[in-house]
């Protein structure tokens, strides 16, 4: 697997980060283009994931 860009964030850490960012950003607007970019990556990742997670066929076990 590729090395992660940023270290793992737990739910507790995410809440802490969001609480600190909230006064800065308030209720942010979502850029539709960025959202679309995220959705496209997610769709592609799910397809790749499903293929990668298929068990080996009979006789193909390493």
């Amino acid at each position: 697997m590729a090395k992660n860009t940023i270290p793992k964030i737990t739910p507790e850490e995410a809440q802490k980060i969001n609480k600190e960012l909230m006064p800065l950003w308030g209720s942010p607007e979502i850029d539709p283009e960025v959202k679309q970019q995220c959705d496209e990556w997610q769709t592609e990742a799910r397809l790749t994931r499903e293929k990668a997670l298929m068990p080996s066929r009979q006789g193909e076990l390493q």
């Binding site: 992660n4 850490e13 995410a14 969001n18 942010p28 990742a45 997670l53 066929r57 009979q58």
Partner: protein, 186 residues
């Protein structure tokens, strides 16, 4: 290779094989593991700023049916699965657990039951999802064929704004762990 005589009930309590996968983009990360020692799937994904992560893992048992003919059987799955998620105001999280029966002779999934499916978006809350896996899948098993019965966990997280999102099912009680898988002939 474990062999099961057609018509003889069998219970698996140890995992024999598994697989895991993860990927990320932008300011995101992901992690995955199929821990066969504990029959456990561990996945997580996170992002701060624009990015995302995706992960999946499964583990279970492979067996071959001996004898002749075919017969219906319930495959009973027992265990627990939990996930903790924070989508944030500008993100989303997804988490899913499936129990699967795969015919490796035909290279075909012959039974699949979705046990949990949780999607959250645009919210400040922390969500806890999951519970007992306890589910049965009815399949027709044929003598001479090889099968894999397994529990699969998949999930992802996207962040399309300025906050932090995370999907965590990778430690403590927040994992997917099966305790037994039973082949119950009809």
């Amino acid at each position: 290779m474990t062999q099961i005589a057609l018509g003889t009930n069998t219970t698996f309590t140890t995992a024999g094989e598994g697989e895991y996968w993860d990927s990320h983009w932008g300011l995101g990360g992901a992690r995955s593991l199929a821990d066969l020692s504990y029959r456990r799937n561990e996945i997580s994904a996170w992002a701060v700023g624009i990015g995302g992560g995706s992960a999946g893992a499964w583990n279970g048992r492979r067996f071959q049916v001996t004898g002749s003919g075919s017969r219906f059987a319930y495959v009973d799955f027992y265990g627990t699965a939990h996930c903790s998620s924070v989508p944030s105001l500008t993100g989303s999280t997804n988490w899913q657990v499936d129990v699967v029966v795969y015919d490796s002779t035909l290279d075909s999934i012959i039974g699949n039951m979705n046990v949990f499916s949780a999607s959250h978006s645009i919210s400040l809350l922390t969500y806890t999802d999951g519970g007992n896996i306890g589910n049965s899948v009815l399949v027709s098993l044929q003598a001479g064929h090889e099968y894999v019965v397994y529990v699969k966990t998949t999930g992802d997280c996207s962040q399309y704004g300025t906050f932090a999102s995370t999907m965590a099912s990778d430690s403590g009680n927040y994992t997917t762990t099966w305790s037994s898988i039973r082949i119950r002939w009809q």
